[in-house]
């Protein structure tokens, strides 16, 4: 029966997740970089670069989670209990980070507390998103279509490495976003952060790329068997080339390109993980076909996505355009 529907839905979920990672990634990155700002005024500017957008960015998280439920209810019903604690902790961290956007401006004496909530919430959310990613890639114990592992199965060195990787990656996205949206001291500091962050991202991506085929045979087979290796070789090669370009753009003072280059790195990294796991949605046992919702549900929602998502993207672009340009220190909020 309609074998292609689950594949299309796998793609849609993938796009929603990468949209989330890139968009909320840069504003979580701002939070991660928050403690490194020297003055309160700089923190105001940093926060104002994302304040009109964060809520829309976070909505992609609901589309990713909700989309998984719509299209692959059986996968949703396995993944969420399996990664119970990381998901709950991530959501609570997002609670702190989200309310800090509003609370920080109303707070007087407790402002430093909400600075901390913003930074720590962003850091913890990013770290546990990495854990969730790692926990999924390394595989989930499934028996009779239900989660059958322990509550701490996810806590492995590999998942911790992924957690660190996502934190560093988001910090890089955040710092390059600041190059786009700010100038002066904030932008200078962002540039000085971006170069070591880029190096750290490269090292961590390399570690994950080596670890996964060594630890998981299915991933080694996917990448290194013939003829796959010839088709897939461009992925790491393009990643290496793009890394050099981002480094070069950072060194030569470009303002927009490092940000878009970093987005490219994220997309490539995500593509690599998708190649490693497809067609499994819950590695190593459940595929997109085994977990798919009833075809009428996938078809109805597909029409929803085809007609509504372009509209959504349209007005998102419109709002980014309204708030285009640099955010300067000392002006803005009244």
């Amino acid at each position: 029966m309609e074998w292609y529907l689950p594949v299309i839905w796998g793609l849609i979920i993938g796009v929603a997740v990468i949209m989330y990672v890139v968009l909320d990634g840069f504003d979580l990155g701002i939070g991660i970089l928050f403690p490194f700002a020297k003055e309160e005024k700089e923190r105001d500017v940093m926060m104002n670069t994302v304040a009109p957008f964060w809520d829309g960015n976070e909505t992609w998280l609901i589309l990713g989670g909700g989309g998984l439920w719509v299209a692959f209810p059986k996968a949703y019903a396995v993944v969420m209990p399996a990664l119970y604690l990381p998901v709950i902790i991530m959501l609570l961290a997002l609670v702190f980070r989200g309310v800090a956007f509003e609370f920080r401006w109303v707070a007087a004496s407790s402002r430093r507390l909400w600075n901390f909530a913003f930074a720590a919430g962003s850091l913890v959310a990013a770290f546990f998103q990495g854990i969730i990613l790692g926990g999924l890639v390394q595989g989930i114990t499934v028996k009779d279509g239900a989660f059958a592992g322990g509550p701490l199965d996810w806590a492995t060195p590999f998942a911790l490495l992924c957690g660190v990787g996502v934190v560093v990656g988001y910090a890089l996205l955040g710092s390059t976003w600041l190059l786009v949206k700010t100038e002066g001291a904030v932008a200078d500091r962002a540039r000085s952060h971006a170069i070591p962050l880029l190096l750290a991202v490269v090292v961590l991506m390399g570690l994950v790329s080596l670890w996964t085929p060594l630890a998981f045979d299915r991933i080694a087979t996917r990448w290194f068997s013939r003829p796959n290796i010839f088709f897939l070789a461009p992925v790491p090669i393009i990643t290496a080339g793009l890394t050099y370009l981002v480094w070069h753009w950072l060194k030569t003072g470009r303002e927009m390109l490092p940000f878009f280059g970093t987005i490219g790195l994220f997309v490539l990294g995500f593509l690599g993980l998708a190649i490693s796991t497809f067609p499994y949605l819950v590695p190593p046992s459940l595929t997109v076909w085994q977990t798919a919702a009833a075809p009428p549900s996938q078809i109805l929602m597909l029409f929803g996505v085809i007609f509504l998502l372009p509209v959504v993207l349209g007005y998102i672009v419109f709002v980014y355009w309204i708030f285009r340009g640099k955010v300067r220190e000392g002006e803005g909020y009244h």
């Binding site: 829309g56 019903a77 609570l92 989200g98 309310v99 007087a108 959504v312 009244h334």
Partner: protein, 464 residues
């Protein structure tokens, strides 16, 4: 220690959803109020509407943020705590949530940016339009979430295939038998709740002798809503109740604490329902009252709790007392509205001190009514999570008790901090009151910066 995961998971859901509903209910009403203020401002050009819109937008921003973050938790909780439910209803309920994301969440979240930060970036008409879009988004959100909830109460348009619900007719699923009453009942509740808060704030300023022009406007608008929408809500609520009597008779039996269906039911004003003995203690009641309300006949009969086997009965306490709290608050709301309308007619709404004192304390009433109403409808359909199809105890994820206990503890601690702080900050914004200066809306030259919506002029000091 031994935990029962199902009890803990139910406590967690009840806690997180009760916390959450307060904020969307308030923001559904408040966004409509702000959109109305801005439309009137655009129409009449009177500054008072502009000042009021900006003032309430700041409070809206804080409330909306709390609604968003507590709502994301819920959308994941279906999977984390209730995975068997998620699997069972996934093909039917999940698309409704999916459409909520696509038609409501993105709309609200994106245009919220313009609503909060766009005053000096976009022309006034576009700002007004953004407010209307946000208000429409909150409405659509309510539409889809109540469609999903109603389907769980009165499932329709589906079939059971290989142990899960399979959609057959989407229109029947969305417009299931209780949806057309549940949706207006919830929306009107949200509008009334916000009207009470607005009225209350106006009364508070008048008692303090501040912001006279704004306060009078808030009083008049709030009273108008209560006086007109209050009675409509009473009618809608009654119709919703009759609908429930038809489709979920056990719930109505619990609401009325009605045990024995062989006799006409009295309207129980107060009682202490004893579930073990299957009767009411200390009952004060009006003979034939409930029969008259539900069957429209003095001697009408309707099912009592004893008609259902004990394992299929809902708990009686929550629905029984919740219903009485909700109706009691509703009556107070209508009275406040009609007395206020009389005072407006006499031109004394801003000077009648006792009325100002009473209304200045009336702000929590709507929230109490909403929470009570949800207890009635949600506890009243127990033991089912999907009426007649899936029991709550069978809907739970395969989780170790301690993980659910730990997450429940974390939710209680975190929400207590966030809730207390959020209320405190909203109160601080209310105490500070509307700004008397106006922003120059259309920035012709280079657009200026994003502004923080909830940030007022200059530095603020604690406790002002």
């Amino acid at each position: 220690m031994d935990f029962d995961p199902v009890t803990l998971a139910r406590m967690q859901f009840a806690f997180t959803v009760s916390f959450h509903i307060i904020f969307p209910a308030f923001t559904i009403g408040l966004s409509a109020f702000i959109a109305t203020l801005e439309l009137i401002w655009l129409w009449t050009g009177k500054d008072v509407f502009h000042r009021l819109a900006r003032f309430w937008t700041k409070i809206f921003a804080v409330s909306f943020a709390m609604g968003v973050v507590s709502g994301i938790v819920l959308s994941y909780q279906f999977g984390t705590n209730w995975s068997r439910y998620a699997e069972f209803v996934g093909s039917v309920v999940a698309p409704l949530i999916g459409f909520e994301v696509l038609t409501a969440f993105f709309l609200e979240a994106t245009f919220l940016g313009i609503m909060l930060f766009g005053w000096n970036r976009v022309p006034p008409w576009l700002h007004v339009l953004s407010c209307c879009v946000v208000a429409f988004g909150t409405f659509m959100s309510a539409f889809w979430i109540l469609a999903a909830n109603s389907w769980m109460q009165t499932p329709a348009g589906f079939d059971i295939r290989s142990g899960a619900a399979y959609p057959l007719d989407w229109l029947e699923i969305i417009f299931n038998p209780s949806f057309h009453w549940r949706l207006p009942h919830m929306l009107l509740a949200a509008y009334l709740t916000t009207s009470l808060v607005v009225l209350s704030v106006g009364a508070r300023y008048l008692l303090a002798g501040k912001f006279k022009e704004e306060s009078k406007m808030m009083m008049v608008m709030g009273i108008g809503m209560l006086a007109i929408v209050g009675p409509i809500q009473a009618f809608v609520g009654d119709s919703h109740g009759l609908n429930t009597a038809h489709y979920q008779p056990a719930k109505i039996a619990a609401v009325e604490a009605h045990w024995d269906s062989s006799k006409p039911a009295p309207l129980v004003l107060f009682a202490w329902p004893d579930e073990k003995a299957e009767k009411n203690l200390f009952e004060i009641s009006i003979p034939h009252g409930a029969s008259l309300m539900i069957t429209h006949s003095l001697d009408g009969l309707f099912p009592g709790l004893k008609d259902f086997p004990p394992q299929d009965r809902p708990p009686v306490f929550g629905p029984f007392f919740g219903f009485r709290a909700m109706v009691g608050v509703g009556v107070v709301m209508i009275l406040l509205g009609w007395i206020g309308a009389w005072l407006i007619f006499k031109g004394r709404e801003t000077t009648t001190r006792w009325y100002l004192i009473v209304t200045s304390w009336a702000w929590p009433l709507g929230f109490i009514a909403i929470l009570s109403g949800w207890i009635v409808t949600e506890q009243g359909r127990q033991p089912w999570v999907v009426e007649g199809l899936l029991r709550t105890e069978d809907a739970m994820s395969p989780l170790a008790g301690w993980t659910v206990g730990l997450s429940l503890t974390l939710f209680v601690v975190v929400y207590a901090v966030i809730f207390a702080t959020g209320i405190h900050f909203m109160n601080r914004l209310i105490v500070r009151g509307p700004d008397q200066t106006l922003i120059q809306p259309p920035a012709r030259e280079r657009p200026t910066r994003p502004i923080a919506a909830a940030h007022g002029e200059g530095q603020m000091t604690p406790g002002t």
